[in-house]
Structure formats: C-alpha cells, structure tokens
Amino acid sequence: MMASNYNAKEEDGHQPAAIGHGGAGTVKNKKPDNTAFKQQRLPAWQPILTAGTVLPAFFVIGLIFIPIGIGLFVTSNNIKELEIDYTGGDMSSPCYNCSQSYSWNSTKPCTCSVPFSLDQPFESNVFMYYGLSNFYQNHRRYVKSRDDSQLNGDKASLKSPSKECEPYRTSDEKPIAPCGAIANSLFNDTLELYYIDPNGSRTAIPLVKKGIAWWTDKHVKFRNPGGNDNLTVVFQGTSKPVNWRKSVYELDPSDPDNNGFINEDFIVWMRTAALPTFRKLYRIIHKKPNMTPTLPLGQYILEVTYNYPVRSFEGRKRMILSTISWMGGKNPFLGIAYITVGSVCFFLGIVLLIIHHKYGNRNHSADIPS
C-alpha cells in the first residue's frame, strides 16, 4: 500500500520539469544520435603487425629495392664522365700563373691550355660543365642579392633595382644591370675544347651554348627590357656590375637571342647552386649524325681563358665532360642506397623469420603455461 503511494509521489516528482515551466511544450529528448561517427564506431582498419603480414612485407621491400638499386647502379656506371681540375694551385699546373692573379678586372686576359686524354669514347650527347668547389652560392645574403623584376625586363626595376641588391645596387650613381651579388660574381672563364688528331693538328670541337638553361627561365623568367632589339639603347643609363669586364648587352653580341638578360650562361649562373661544390652546365656537344662517337678517344686540349679568381676562398675550378642517362648524371649513390635498404629489409626479414620459427616451435611444447 505504502509502496504504491510512494511511487505515485515519485512520478509526481518528475512532472514539474514538464509542467513547471509553463507551456514549455514537450520535453526535448536529449539522447545522442546513434550514429557510427558520434559513437566512435566508424568502421576502421586496424593494421596489426603479425608475422604473417610483416615478414612478407620485409621480403617484398627487399626484393623490389635490390633490383632497382642494381639497375640504378648499372645505369650510373654506364655514364662516362671526365673531370679536369684547372684551378692551377700547383706550381706544375699549366694554369698556375693565371691563378696567381687576384683581380676580377685585370685588363690582360690570361689563358692556359690543359691537355688531357680520353680513354674511351663518349657516345651520344656530351654535356660540358664547369664545376666550382667551396663556392657558397647558397649563402643566405648571396641568394637574395638579385632583383627578379629587373631580370624579367621590368623597366622601372632596371632604373631603380630592388634594395635586396645592396651593396651591388648602384655604381657611380647609376643603377647596375643586372644588380646584385649573384650577377656580380658571374663565372667568366671561357672554356674551349680541341681534339688533337693523331697527326698533331687541333680541331675545335663545336660547343653549343644554347639550350643549357631551363626553357622556362629563358622564356618566362628572364627577359630583356623592351624586347631583344638594340640592347645598347635599352641599357643606357645603367652601369655594369663592378666585377664584370663588359656590359650585359655585350655578353653575346653575335646572337641577339642570347644576349643581355637572356644570355644562357648568365641564366645558368643565376640559378644558384644548392651546395658549395657544384657544377653548372656550360656547353653541349651534340651527337654527330654519323656513327662516330661524339668524343672519340684520344688527346684533347682544354683552352681556358682564366678570369675567375678562386684563390680567395680556396676554391677549385673544374671542367667536366659527361654523358647523361634517364636519371641524370653519374651518381652511384642512389643505386647503392637502394641496394643497402633492400638488403637490410631482406636481412631483417630473415632474422625475424628465424626468431619466429625458433620461438614458435618452442612455444608449441609449452603452449599456454599454467
């Protein structure tokens, strides 16, 4: 009897919530939605690493990586590459005399010839690079010391280059074109190759100087102000960079398409190297139409017009001749890396397999100890 009484009260006790707030209407049910997302029951894949999944994975990685590595290694080894250091730090070196000069602006050009020989012929296109060592083209202030708008042919920037170019912004009250430290330190050695015929006569090897820069650089990023005609007029009122011997419109007077800011040697230089030891594409020796190798084996002479001083920073200058494969220049590292990682995976797979077998068998005898 009492119980019923009490229950009645209990029920009553809940009513005021509904009625008490006068016409609040039906009480909203606050029950959360039963959706997989809200209840954190989204279907999920749980990658649990077991012997069954991990061992094959190791083996598969190993089996894929090792052939790739071998392939890369072989490709890299097939690339022919020749490197000649012509810095001339040595007394015996032909360029010793030239290298002693510190100056950027010595009036008398210094030339030296470095003989070398090829042991094997270079097939297909040969790329000729110049290489610099210890040259920090990636120095923070150096990298920034340029004016992209000026190089893009913007006339306003031509007359008043960006402040980033300081301290190579103006010279003699005139704006420098191209301004900045990168342009100022343009590599200005001239390299020429001669093949010494067995009979002793020198044949100049044709070096193509176009097509060495990125297409986008040449056609989009770098532009001469006011088109390519009559650069002398355009660049009037500007000053040449202090280290330069000639103005920017004299870089290649023979070819208006390779002169001024769109000079490809200049463009290549302006693409700052990532590391202090770098090479930059200088010339291309195109494959000959006939079956003869591009560079047959034999004696050669590298004629250097030695302008670029590197002694101040202990730099080295090199000339590199290299063929190229689908993966770039000669570099065995990636092949070795692939082989190494692949082998490590394979080895780990084997070790774990052994552990798995050994302990797996032992466990069979003592399965679920009491």
């Binding site: 009484n5 009260k9 008490g20 809200k38 649990i48 150096y142 920034k144 090479r279």
Partner: protein, 1217 residues
C-alpha cells in the same frame, strides 16, 4: 512642503551616512530614489552604485583589436611568434620575406580572434535581449508604476513584479499580494533547484493592510557590500521612527529567479547589474591545467633549450666560417645591406637571431591551438556517448571543464560520496521506532495499532513523533494539478469559523491561532484521551492506519489531501513527510510562521512556527520551535543524526519507574538504531522538548540579539541553536532506505581492477557506511577491517596501527567497537591480507592533524579501501587535499550534494552527479554524470582514449617539429642561415600541409577498442603510470626525429652531390619526402584507420602538391627572394624525384618500425616480459601491436590474468602470468 522638508533632512542624513560609508566601507546604504529629483542626481546617495545594465561582453568595436591582442599576448607562444615575426623586420637578421613571416602569427591570432569575436557577439546579443526586458518601476512624477527596460532600473527604485516574472535585480521584498506576505520563487537559474522557496516581506512592512505606497517609504537600508554568497544577506532597515529591523536572506529576491504563486509584489532594488549576487557568481568556465599539459610544458622548455643550442652552434660555426677567410673576402660573402663589413663576431651574433627565425618551427606553435581543437572534439565525443546518457532523467554527461579530458585517463584515487552517488538518494521510509517499540513500515498498520492500546504516554509519543516528522522540516506544499499554486494555506476560507478576526491582524491572531474549536488549555493528552474514550478504539484504529488508495479516492477530503505534493530540499525530509501522510498525519500547509497539519479525527491543527533552526553539517540536526495549538506550550522538535541527538537526550535523574523506562527506551532505541544501520538504513532521531515560557523568553532574547547582529551572525545563531537544543526528550528514530544505484558494485569492482584506489567519504554513520560498502563490494566479507575510533589525539596516536601493522600483520581491530573506550584491540583473524580502513569523523580530525597525517596515509595506503564516516564537508576536502599533496597522485572526487562541493573543487578532477540534491555539486564540478556507473566508461574508455590520443599527439608534434632539415644544411652553406626549403613551404608546412591528419588521429584514434578497455580494466594502469608519455619518451622522440631528419637530408644530399642542381630544385624534393615521412610516421602511430584518416592524409598530400604546383606556376618574379618558378613541374618529370620519395621514407622509418614495433619490447623491457611476450605471441604475433605490449606489461606488473587480443582482435587467449 512637508515632503521637501523631509527631503532636506534626508540630505543631511545622507551626508552623514556617506561619511560613515567612507569610514566603514563595509556596508551599502540604500535610500529610496523617490526622494530625489533625478536618479543620477548629485544629491542621490545611490548614484555611486552600478546600474542594472549588464555588459558581459569583453570588447567594444573600438577596443576589440587592442584588447583581444593584448589578451592573446598573454600566451607565451604567441609572444614568441610575434617576436620572431618582428625579428624578421630587422634587416641584419631577416631570414624570410618579412610579410610572409607574419603569416603564421596572423593566422593563429586571427583564428582565435574570430572565435572570440563570435563569442562576444553572442554575449552582446543576449545582453541586449536581457537589458531590454520590461519591468515595472515606480515613477516619481507619474506616481505609478511605469514600464521600463531592465537596464533602466537603478538601486533605490521600487519595482513591481507579477507572477512568473523574472527578477531584474536583487530586490528587497517590501510588499506582497499574498495574504501571508510571502513570495514564492524558483531559483532554477541560480542553483538548478526546482523546488519553490519562500521569501517574505521585511518584517516591519508586514502589517501594512493596504497596498504599499512607495512615495511614503522613507526608511534607510544598510546592508552588506555586494558579494557572491547566494545564501547570505545581512543588513538592517532603519525607519523614520528610529526603529531598526534586521534583514535576512529571506527578504531578498535574487536576480534571475522567477516569481511563482504570487500575484504581485513590490520591492526596492538593493543590488543592480553586475553587483547582483547572480552576476557575481557568474565567473565563467574554470581553467585547470592537466598533468599531461604540465609535462608537455616542461618539454616545450627543453625545445627552447635545444633551439638555443642549435642557434648557438650555428652562430659559432658562422663566426668560424667567416674567420677562416680572414681578410680575403670571398665574392659570395655579401656585405650587409648597409654596405658595412661585419666582423666574424658581430655577424655570428646577428646570425644567432637569424637562426632563431629559421628554426622557429622547433617550438610547436600550432601545438597549443591543435590541442585545444582536439580537446573540443574529445569533449564533443564524450558528450555524444550514448552510454553516458541516462534515459530516466534525460540527462547527458556534461563537460564543464574543457581542458582536462586527458586527466580522466590518469586517475589514481577516487573519493566518492555515498549518499546520492553510490546510492539513489531516493529515500524510502522503511522502519521506525517510537518509544522503544519498533515498527516496520510494511506491517505498520498492525503494529502501530497494537501499540495504541498501550500506555497513553506512548500514544502521545506517537502523535508527537508524527507531528515532528511532519513539521520539523522545510517542506513546501503544492498541488500537482496546479503547479506552483499554494495549497491549503488559506486560513480565511477553510477555518473562517475559528478565526473571525482578520488574518492580517497578526497580533490578535497569534493569540488565537488554533484552528480547533477548543482553544482552551486542554492538554493534548486529555483531548486525546477523551477522543479515545469517545470514539473508542475504532476511531484510533482508523486514525493511525495507513490509508488505502481506494478509500483515499472515495473520500472527498482525502482526495484533496492526496493531491498535495511536497517539495523538499532533501529527499529524506520528503520521505518522512510522505511517510507521516501515509499515517494520515499530513502536512497541508506551510507558512513562514505557521504550519498546518491534518491529524486524524483532530482535523487541521495550526502550529505557530516561532523559529526554524535549519540543518547544518556541524550540528547535524535541525529544530523547529512551535507553539502547540492545543496546549499552547512552546515546543521544540528536533530531528537529527542519532549520534548527536543521543548525546542531547536527558534522562530523568530520578530512579523511579519513569526514569527506568526512559533509560530502557533509550537503550532499545539505540539497539534499533544499530540494527537499522546494519541494514544500511539511514537513521534519524526525533526528539522533543517542552519549554516553559520563562526559558523561552530567556532564550528568545539571546536569539534575537544574534539575529540582528551583522558581524558574526552565523556564529551567534549557531551558539543560540546549541543553547536551545539541550535536554531533549527522545521520541523515536526512523530508518530510511537509500537504495544502491544500478551497477555500482560492478563499477567499483572494475575501477578497482583498473588500479584505482577508492575511498568513500560520507557524512553517514559508521554502521550504515560499512553496510553500504559491503553492498557495493567495496569491502569483501573476508576483508580485514581496521576501525579507527578515537576520542583524543593521544589515543589515536597510541592506537596508531601502522606499527603493529608492520610488526605482525594482523591488525584486525574490533568491530563494532565498544562505544565508551573505543581505540583498538587486536584480534587474530584470517590470513587474508586485504585490508579495509574505517575511520570516523572525530578520529579523522586527529588523523588529519599535521603530526599524524603521514602515519594515517601510511596506513591508508596499505589498505584496499578506506571509508571515512561522519565526515564534514571540510574534512572531505582535507582528505582529498592531503592525499593529493602528500602522495602526489591524481585524484578524482565524485559527489552529488552541496556537502561534496569543497571536495570536488579540491580534487584534480571533480565529478558531480546530477541527482536529487540540487545542482550545487554539478555547478562546481568539471564533469557531471547522470549516474555513478557512468564513471566506468568515462574513466576506463574515454579517459584512456583522451589520454592516449593526446599523449601521442603531443609526442608526434614534438617529433614533427624537430625534423629540422635546415640545421643540417647549415654545414653546407657556411652557417649562413640559408634554407633550401622555400619559405612558403617552411611556413605553411606545419600550419597547413601536415596539420590535418594529426588532428584526425588525435581525435579519433583508438588504441584499444571500447569493449576491450571495459573488459580489461587493467589497461587503465597504462595512463596511471603515464606510460604513453614519459620524460624519456620525449628524448626518444627527439632522437628519432634527429635520425629521420638526417636520413631525409643526406639521401637527397648524396643523390644530388656535385650536380648542377639548384637550391630550390634540391630543396623541394626534401620538403616532399619530409612530408611523406612525417605522414607515414603518423600512419605507423595510427592504430585504427577510418576513412577520415585516409581522407585527411590524401588531402594533406593533395594540398601540398596543389599549392606547390600553383605557387610554382603563378608568378615568376613575385616571391622574392626565392624564385621557385616551374620547379615542381620540372621535378615531377624527373624519375630521380620519385626514386627519392620511395627510398627516403622507408630508410627513415625502418628503425622505428623495427624498434618500435618489434624489438623495443624485447630490448627495453624486463626479461620476464620478454619471455611472456614470446610465450604469448610467438605463434601468431611476432610483432607486437602496441595494445598487446601494454597488455603484457600490465600483466607482468599486476600478476593478473590477462587476455591478449590476437590477430583478429578478439579476446580468445588467456594467459596467466
């Protein structure tokens, strides 16, 4: 004229008052605004008080930007980033394009600012709405009440309020349309309690017959300064006549409450606007810092140190690099923009600053924002959990503190209240004992009936007992059909025959307050005897037998009675009143000065209620002082905890039969009380005292003094109550059952398996507490129980069980202890080493003393469960504080009532149960649960998840930011602070490209499924021991990041060594493969992959390539100093790029895969673990998933049976470790 005069004198008074005010500054003086010309006028003494316009917005349109920025810059991280961004504007050390360097800071600041702005706008809207609500304010000119906006009401204004209106300010009640000069208010918005509360008109205005006329009011109110104590209001009102009356909290209507049941009332505004108690209480969400975050901040500090070391290293390197060139300045070493040549030392110093900019990502800025986002998501998910929803009450879990979710996963101690937390707090009256005779509630009809034929003194006791049950409380009566309508208080209509005089004429009415036609000095006893003889046993049988429902419906009078509903502040009171009603002794009306009770055959009796001395936890009892309508005697009814009441009972000193009988009754009652307690019933003793007029007069004088005192009133009232509650006569005792909540024993068992120590702190008596503890499996029958009951500190010291405990491990103390000299006596018992400690409040006070607390903790720690009985709220919080501070553990306090508030606030995590006892605990808590059993899922599942997710996310953040590829590059660029990664990538890498997947993983990842976590509570220990984020793990992460950055740097380095690659063509692949490595690393850390993980990772990679391609194609000259034109496009054509992207992540993550997943268990854990691991896994699992690793480590540590989820994730193997 006269009015003006009054005004003048008033001004003088005011000046005096003001002087006083300045002197004291402890009170507020309020005058009527009617007396002054303008409410803001020079002479108005109220003009200094704030008006009623509320403004909770933080900003105005003008101040938003400066103020918001100022606030945001209180965060160290933001300051740091602004510092770095500004550093970029210094020409000598700028590393990035200065504008771009501002991007991350601006981004983060603006995200926060937009969030703040939105919140502020919403506050503004609601403020506006509230400020423009209407209220009736008395106008001085129109001499009537005018509609005004809330914001126009001022202190000193008269306000008329009608039924169901909300109070615009704190108002002192001056008049009410209610004949009893009462106002009922609902305080749900303040404390969540829905029961009505009565407020009454200031006593000096009680006698007004006609409507209150504000223009005639000229009293001065002096009261406290605004404060936030809802339960306190003190002051006095001084009338023209010089009469002073005290003001109490009963006279004050608080802002935000709703007027109910009252047609109209008038009051004067005392506190307005922001000075109202409701607004002062509104202090926003609480901020706690979690344990994990504290740990994280230490490691952020380490990051700063690492950053500085790296910068210093680079700076020295740069100095040396410069030095080696000597005077021969190389062509690539560009002069500073000013053209000045820098010495190596100076440029090293500049470089140091530059490096701070370059390495800024090492300090994870976005970490703080990300953690906030993840926590909000976690709170959302916890909130959405259906298992934490209670159908019955339609209530959710509420997260009130948003930033300590992960603390839930690290709890070590739980402090629980008993009543309402472990139990339902739905009281059911079970049994009672009256005058030494025990009646059980089920068979009560018979037993009480039989007793009636016994001695008449018994009978009076029974009647008194029921009267006490009925009136000794603060229950408000209302009718369910017309909610909030007062019922049965209408003296005029129901008993017009007896009280012919106007009920408003109180002084006369008091003399003849009886509703019965026999107001003569007949005693109750004679009256009842008469009844007995006249009506015979039949009448009495009818009188005290429970009314069956059908008869109730049959009788019209009873029907009316049955419709009454009681609203009580505590469920005990309601249970007692309902129980009394079942015996036809029903409460039909309650007024502040009168209680009407309907008794069988006697009809309605109106007791004049002289005083109510409310319940407090120190006295543990409440009393009412009434004038008995039949005898006209001053009678005190007291109801309270048996321990205190029993001490206050006086026995007749004489050795006559009466004295003996009394002693016997006392003894019997005590026995029954013990029995009740053993049954787990809550016991209350009911006692009575009849006072002579002289005694009462003496007491009354002191009491009135106490009531009118402003300073120390509580203490004086307390003393006054103590003086009253002596020499009581025992009537009986009640036993009220409080059922255990569903699932409590299971929850406690599983929480305990999870390694949580559970202490129960209750105000209940020892026997009841122990009983409940057994019922909810907190104590096992074969546990040994140490009971600590001591009278003095010395005894506690001597009974200190730790010594004996260590000596012979057999400290089973006697239970139950003999009352007079408790202390301890040893008895040898079982060899079970499971101990339970029971300590009572008095002993606890000694134990908490600083000299003994160490020992107490020592004992308590060795016990499996601790039970503190009879503890006061303060003691509860002291226990929590003691354990928290001394043991350096994470504590959680859970409770439902106001007495748990202090404990909830002290604990690391406070959990409130939104139960029967109002909302105070919930308001103070960090999390509010509907039921106790929800704690299991909240801690074991959500706590674990939140902890493990956040811990992993934080470690991942440190890792991600520590992959400092640029540092290695410094060796190759002359330590010049150059970066091969484009500044855009560098800045947006952490902000955008790699930000989303970790947020998804941090929000959704589940290392162990919810089912497994609940099935294996042991897994919770993982969080308790901070296994996911230990200090060494930070360094492991750093070493891993170090290694991975080495791999990510040097593989491309060697792959491109001595080639014609340029800066960005080389740096972009590095960025790409660093992104891949970081994402795959996250993939390895992710334990569950949902479609969202896939989407987020795909999105990240896609975003990176899209941004890179667009960026590299957009403008050839815009992004000085870098010029990445067409770089990405060209790279995508190169096979080398893809080859690098494959090998580098594999090489970088191989060690982690092998060490993290396979070997770490074998190398770094104990040999035992190794064996176990192989035993468990060798068949299916060579490589242990993270989950299994814990399983094993938990297994080894706790020596318990452990299930191991195998490949299929199903628990199917059981291994005993």
């Amino acid at each position: 004229m006269a009015r003006e005069k009054i005004g003048e004198t008033e001004v003088v008074n005011v000046k005096k008052q003001r002087k006083k005010c300045k002197k004291e500054h402890k009170t507020r003086t309020v005058h009527s605004n009617i007396l002054y010309d303008r409410t803001k006028g020079e002479d108005n003494p109220n003009r200094h008080y704030s008006d009623n316009e509320i403004k909770t917005t933080k900003y105005t349109l003008l101040s938003f930007l400066p103020k918001n920025l100022f606030e945001q810059f209180h965060r160290f991280a933001n300051v740091y980033f602004v510092f770095i961004a500004l550093l970029n504007f210094v020409p000598v050390c700028n590393a990035f394009q200065p504008q771009l360097a501002l991007a991350p800071v601006v981004f983060i600041l603006s995200v926060t600012a937009i969030k703040d702005l939105w919140e502020d706008y919403r506050r503004h809207r609601s403020d506006k709405e509230i400020n423009h609500m209407d209220c009736l304010v008395y106008s001085r000119y129109k001499h009537q009440y005018m509609e005004r906006f809330w914001k126009e009401a001022r202190v000193g204004d008269f306000i008329r309020l009608r039924c169901n209106e909300i109070l615009p300010a704190d108002v002192l009640l001056l008049s009410s349309s209610d004949p009893d000069r009462l106002v009922h208010i609902e305080t749900a918005t303040l404390d969540g309690e829905t029961n009505l509360k009565q407020r009454r008109v200031v006593c000096s205005f009680l006698d007004l017959d006609c409507d209150f006329d504000p223009s005639k009011y000229n009293s001065v109110i002096e009261c406290e300064k605004p404060n936030n104590d809802l339960a306190r209001f003190r002051g006095y009102i001084t009338h023209r006549s010089g009469r002073r009356d005290g003001l109490y909290k009963d006279n004050l209507l608080l802002r935000g409450c709703t007027i109910r049941n009252t047609e109209e009332c008038v009051g004067i505004v005392i506190y307005a606007g922001h000075e109202t108690k409701a607004m002062l209480n509104n202090n926003g969400p609480r901020y706690k810092r979690s344990k994990l975050e504290k740990q994280m901040n230490v490691d952020v500090g380490w990051c700063v140190i690492i950053l500085l070391v790296m910068c210093l290293f680079s700076a020295i390197g740069h100095g040396l690099w410069m030095y080696q060139y000597g005077d021969k300045r190389p062509v690539f070493d560009v002069l500073s923009p000013e053209g000045a040549e820098l010495s190596p030392v100076l440029s090293a110093i500049y470089l140091f600053l530059t490096m701070i900019i370059v390495f800024q990502v090492l300090i994870p800025v976005s970490l703080f924002v990300s953690i906030e986002i993840v926590k909000i998501c976690q709170v959302y998910f916890i909130h959405q959990d259906q298992d934490l929803y209670d159908e019955e009450t339609d209530s959710h879990l509420q997260c009130r503190a948003l930033n300590i979710t992960e603390d839930l996963g690290q709890m070590q101690y739980i402090f629980s209240d008993k009543t309402g937390t472990l139990t339902e707090n739905k009281m059911v009256f079970r049994r009672c004992t009256v005058a030494g005779v025990e009646y059980s509630h089920d068979a009560n009809g018979e037993t009480i009936l039989q007793s009636l034929s016994q001695l008449p003194s018994d009978l009076t006791d029974i009647i008194d007992f029921f009267i006490a049950l009925t009136i000794c409380n603060t229950v408000v009566v209302s009718s369910p059909n017309q909610p909030r309508q007062k019922v049965g208080t209408d003296r005029l209509t129901s008993n017009s025959n007896s009280s012919s005089s106007s009920s408003l004429n109180r002084s006369s009415h008091r003399e003849c307050s009886s509703v019965l036609s026999s107001p003569s000095a007949e005693s109750t006893l004679t009256k009842l005897d008469e009844e007995h003889h006249l009506g015979g046993s039949v009448g009495l049988e009818h009188a005290f037998s429970p009314v069956p429902p059908h008869t109730t419906e049959g009788e019209p009078g009873a029907l009316e009675e049955g419709e009454l509903r009681y609203e009580a502040e505590s469920p005990d009171e309601a249970a007692l009143v309902y129980a009394a009603r079942a015996y036809k002794c029903s409460l039909v009306g309650r007024l502040p000065d009168q209680v009407t009770v309907e008794l069988p055959d006697l009809g309605k009796l109106s007791f004049e209620l002289l005083h109510t001395l409310g319940f407090d936890s120190t006295r543990k009892r409440m009393s009412v002082v009434v004038r008995h309508p039949l005898t006209d005697q001053i009678t005190v009814y007291t109801k309270g905890a048996d321990s205190v009441i029993m001490d206050l009972i006086t026995l007749p000193s004489t050795d006559d039969s009466k004295g003996k009988r009394q002693r016997k009754i006392l003894y019997k009652t005590q026995n029954y009380l013990n029995l009740y307690a053993a049954d787990g019933l809550r016991t209350l003793c009911i006692a009575k005292k009849v006072m002579t007029k002289e005694e009462y007069a003496v007491w009354l004088r002191h009491h009135l003094e106490a009531e009118t005192a402003i300073q120390g009133r509580e203490e004086l009232l307390f003393q006054s109550a103590l003086r009253l509650e002596i020499n009581l006569h025992l009537l009986g005792a009640t036993g009220v059952e409080d059922r255990l909540q569903d699932g409590v024993p299971e929850t406690i068992a599983s929480l305990r398996k999870a390694g949580l120590q559970i202490w129960v702190l209750t105000g209940d008596k020892q026997e009841t507490a122990i009983n409940i503890a057994y019922a909810c499996k907190l104590l096992e029958p074969d546990d040994e129980i140490i009971t600590l009951n001591a009278d003095s500190q010395a005894k506690f010291l001597s009974s200190d069980p730790s010594r004996s405990f260590q000596k012979d491990y057999a400290p089973a103390y006697s239970f139950p202890p003999p009352p007079p000299s408790p202390s301890s006596s040893q008895t040898q018992s079982f060899l079970v080493h499971r101990l339970g400690l029971v300590i009572d409040g008095r002993t606890l006070a000694y134990a908490l003393d600083s000299s003994l607390d160490e020992k107490f903790l020592q004992v308590a720690r060795s016990c499996r469960s601790v039970l503190c009985c009879r503890s006061t709220p303060l003691q509860k919080s002291m226990v929590v504080k003691l354990v928290r501070n001394k043991l350096k553990v994470m504590t959680l306090a859970i409770g439902d009532g106001a007495n748990d508030v202090s404990m909830i606030q002290v604990a690391d995590v406070g959990v409130g149960i939104s139960g029967q006892e109002g909302m105070q605990a919930v308001m103070a808590s960090d999390f509010a649960l509907p039921r106790f059993r929800n704690l299991q899922k909240l801690l074991l599942v959500h706590g674990h998840w939140c902890y493990s997710r956040l811990a992993n996310m934080i470690l991942y953040f440190f890792y991600k930011n520590a992959v400092t590829l640029i540092f290695w590059y410094q060796f190759y660029c002359g330590f010049s602070g150059s970066a091969m990664i484009d500044q855009w990538y560098l800045i947006f890498f952490n902000l955008m490209f790699s930000a989303f997947p970790q947020l998804i993983t941090g929000t959704l990842d589940k290392d162990v499924s919810s089912e497994t976590l609940q099935e294996l509570p042991q897994l919770y220990m993982n969080g308790q021991n901070s296994e996911e984020y230990k200090p060494y793990m930070f360094w492991m992460t750093m070493i891993d990041a170090f290694y991975q950055s080495l791999v990510c740097f040097f593989i491309p380095y060697f792959a491109y060594a001595d080639s014609d690659v340029d800066l960005l063509t080389w740096g972009t692949p590095i960025t790409t493969l660093a992104l891949f490595t970081i994402l795959i690393h996250l993939g390895l850390e992710t334990k569950t992959w949902t479609w969202m993980n896939w989407v987020s990772i795909t999105f990240s990679v896609g975003l990176f390539f899209t941004v890179a391609l667009c960026y590299n194609a957009s403008c050839p000259t815009c992004y000085s100093p870098s010029n990445p034109y067409w770089t990405m496009q060209r790279l995508l054509r190169e096979p080398l790029f893809y080859l690098l992207c494959v090998i580098t992540p594999v090489a970088a993550l191989l060690p982690r895969l092998v060490r993290g997943r396979c070997v770490s268990v074998l190398l770094f854990k104990s040999p035992l673990l190794l064996i176990t691991a192989f035993h468990v896994y060798s068949k299916e699992l060579v490589f242990l998933s993270q989950c299994s690793v814990w399983c094993v480590s938990v297994c080894v540590k706790s020596n318990v049976i452990c299930h191991v989820p195998n490949t299929t994730g199903v628990v199917d193997r059981t291994v005993k470790c």
